[in-house]
């Protein structure tokens, strides 16, 4: 190959080219003034920062083209800081480039491996040390040490046990019980079936005696989306159809993929879209996944009305809501 051929010769480091500032004292003085000017601008930047901090109230806005209305206080502080820092850097680099000696220096490298003899000695020492410890011969020690070390690693794992409780049944339960009223979120008003017209949606929560007791942990599982279609638009199994009420269908709002709130309902296509990963669910077919990474339909809540026509849950969810986990179906 070409490696055996004689390579083109290394012409060696190119000759040093003198800068203007090296040969012309005037140019050097000019460079000095430039550096000083940059440091001066930096000082002005700090002045701007101080002035902005002390004198500009934070409710004054100035119009800057492209950027729109800007908070003068924030802009003054930031620009002051940026200028003061940036120009120190600019000055220092300009100083280095123009006035500090720029002769390239060659430093020799040495291969990292030590001299053959040293290395042999070193390797031998390691081997000897290992042999003297008897690690190779006394397998009982080796094995028991390995086991002990391995086991000792368990202690931090064990000590971290109290980070949280073990998964319990609450993981699969929501606050939707038989007869729980559906209430608006926010507002906590009960909803009559007749309140919803075709094409409308409502964000819904289970009724709490005191809405103040509803915490994020509850919302994370209870959030519900109520949609009203024409009953004729459904394409459902009879048992699923029985879970609806006069065209009103209720789905868990927590995505079966990764738990985002699925609530982008398109009235025209009857599709529900999750904005996080774009799983698309067909409402007319019990939230069947028609696009995207979700593998399961959204859980459907069985709803009906009470004597006065208010919407209630007939039964709790028949499956856990939200993302999948190992023992979800157990």
């Amino acid at each position: 190959m070409s490696n055996q051929l004689e390579p083109i010769k290394d012409p060696g480091l190119p000759a040093h080219v003198h800068r203007k500032t090296d040969t012309d004292p005037k140019a050097a003085d000019r460079a000095e003034r430039q550096v000083a000017a940059m440091f001066g601008i930096s000082a002005l930047g700090t002045v701007l920062l101080v002035v902005s901090y002390v004198f500009i109230p934070d409710d004054i806005f100035v119009f800057i083209p492209v950027m729109g209305n800007q908070n003068a206080h924030q802009l003054g502080l930031g620009m002051g800081m940026a200028i003061s820092l940036f120009f120190i850097g600019l000055g220092a680099i300009h100083w280095a480039k123009t006035l500090m000696p720029d002769h390239e220096v060659v430093m020799q490298r040495h291969e990292f491996r030590s001299a053959e003899e040293d290395r042999k000695d070193f390797v031998a020492t390691v081997k000897e040390g290992a042999a003297n410890s008897g690690l190779g011969r006394r397998s009982l020690i080796k094995r028991s040490l390995g086991a002990a070390l391995g086991l000792s690693a368990l202690s931090p794992v064990l000590l971290l046990r109290d980070l949280g409780p073990l998964p319990g049944p609450e993981q699969k339960m929501t606050n939707w019980k038989s007869g729980t009223y559906l209430v608006t979120d926010p507002g906590d008003r009960r909803i009559k079936a007749s309140d919803l017209e075709v094409g409308s949606v409502a964000q819904v929560m289970p009724e709490f005696a005191n809405p103040k007791d509803r915490h994020l942990d509850d919302i994370a599982k209870d959030a519900l989306l109520l949609i009203r279609l024409r009953p004729s638009e459904f394409n459902l199994d009879p048992d699923r159809l029985a879970m609806t009420h006069e065209g009103i269908i209720a789905f868990s709002k927590i995505c079966s993929h990764m738990g985002c709130a699925v609530a982008l309902y398109e009235q025209t296509t009857k599709h529900l879209l999750c904005p996080c990963h774009q799983s698309t669910f067909d409402v007319t077919r019990a939230a069947k996944v028609i696009f995207g990474p979700a593998a399961r339909p959204l859980p459907q809540l069985d709803i009906t009305v009470d004597g006065e026509g208010y919407l209630i849950a007939r039964k709790p969810f028949s499956e856990p809501v939200g993302p999948s986990f190992w023992g979800r179906e157990k």
Partner: protein, 527 residues
Amino acid sequence: MTVEAKLGQVANYVDERTGAAAFLKKSLKKVFPDHWSFLLGEVALYSFVILLLSGTFLTFWFDPSMREVVYEGSYQPLEGVKMSAAYASALHISFEVRGGLLMRQIHHWAALIFMAAIVAHLLRVFFTGAFRKPREGNWIIGIGLLTLGIVEGFLGYSLPDDLLSGTGIRIAEAIIQAFPVVGSYLSYFAFGGVFPGEVFIPRIYIVHVLLLPGAFLALITVHLMLVWYQKHTQYPGPGRTEKNVVGYPLMPMYMAKAGGFFFIVFGVTAFLGAVASINPIWLYGPYTPGQISAGSQPDWYMGWLDGLVRMAPPIETYFFGYTISWNILIPGLIIPGILFTGMALYPFIESWITGDKREHHLLDRPRNAPNRTALGAMSLTFMLVTLINGGNDLIATHFDLSINQIMWGTRIGVLVLPPLAFIITKRLCLSLQRADRELVLHGRETGRLLRMPSGEFVEVHEPISPEKAYILTSHEQLPALDLPAVDARGVKRAGALKNKLRSRLSKANAESVPKVSADDLKQIENH
């Protein structure tokens, strides 16, 4: 007393108490090669310092608590809204602490630039082959820093507990839950029970401000010490060899430049913090699991992951009542795991393929390592395609496309484009090698035409300088490994399959356009 004399006294003082004169003298004279691409790592380092400074400022007011409070601050559109104390204190920093918003924005911009600089630095190191022996260990530390950076950034932007970041935590929880067998346990331990609980923000806070920065400091220190001890690599050029370093001494030139550059990085970050809004948490609103915003995306360095998750096929398997969410495991854990492991092991893989166990201090021009460059282009294409899908909703609305089209485009693209990028890049590298060869043999095309006495037109070629000719030919061209399937005695070697694979890879790796030798030039002259 002059400055020189004073500094001299300081040096004297230090040595009398440490005896470090010999070491420090050598250090001050240490030579650093100068090239803009060597500053990418510096940008990351300085961003880290800025992150420490601005982050400390933020901790003075930030209250990492998920306690429910009612907002009573000065931002009127959120007045009386229930929120976590963490979110309320982040609003307090933004609106009541003077310069607080600026610091928040500097902190966040510095984080984005930190990650961008790490990736740019990684690309430089990869494409120039700077990871080769003896720097494999430092490469692995670098991969570690990148991984930590992604985690640290995610935890950082999760702290304010706004609607966007809370959605991110929700997704992280889904990934944790997806672990087979232990998922629910891990999730319950991390969140202290069911999601979101009340302990997660305080926990990630201490990880974000203490544990990970500590790990960063330790790794960065080792990273820099190794650079220091092993000396910097340099680009090939006249006078530069594997046995030397050509550049400027630490004192004063490099000190002034590097020190100045710190201020530049800080200045640019402050500039961005002043003029461009970042993470306007007051617009997002406080987190509640029942709400969501259109176009919920993570910060850019997680975008590829989000894009992968989006394009994943909807597969879950169920057996004996147990669920395995492949739609989360594959894009969320398996592919990133393969990518990062492969990246960390690459130096060893390459040296196994080339059989090259020597030290390398001269960098490769990417075209002279076509296989590596093509592999890099392939990985980069993969990342870009997934990143694009991570922003598919915004791309759809801004370029009149549909998310479904983009999703299918990237689903197919992520399989088709990376191999295509490999092939194209490799061909491109070989063409560039050919161009180099032409240039050395026949010189530069001047564009001047000359009419020969015969009436024929020829273009005048100008010979290139010896320096240039040297740069274009100084690289090594290693032959492929010779790994016969049978040994000298005709016995089949052990691990035949492995050998076969190795020799095929080696052969592909050695493919090149022969570089010009001095003999070639002599031949031409004799013509």
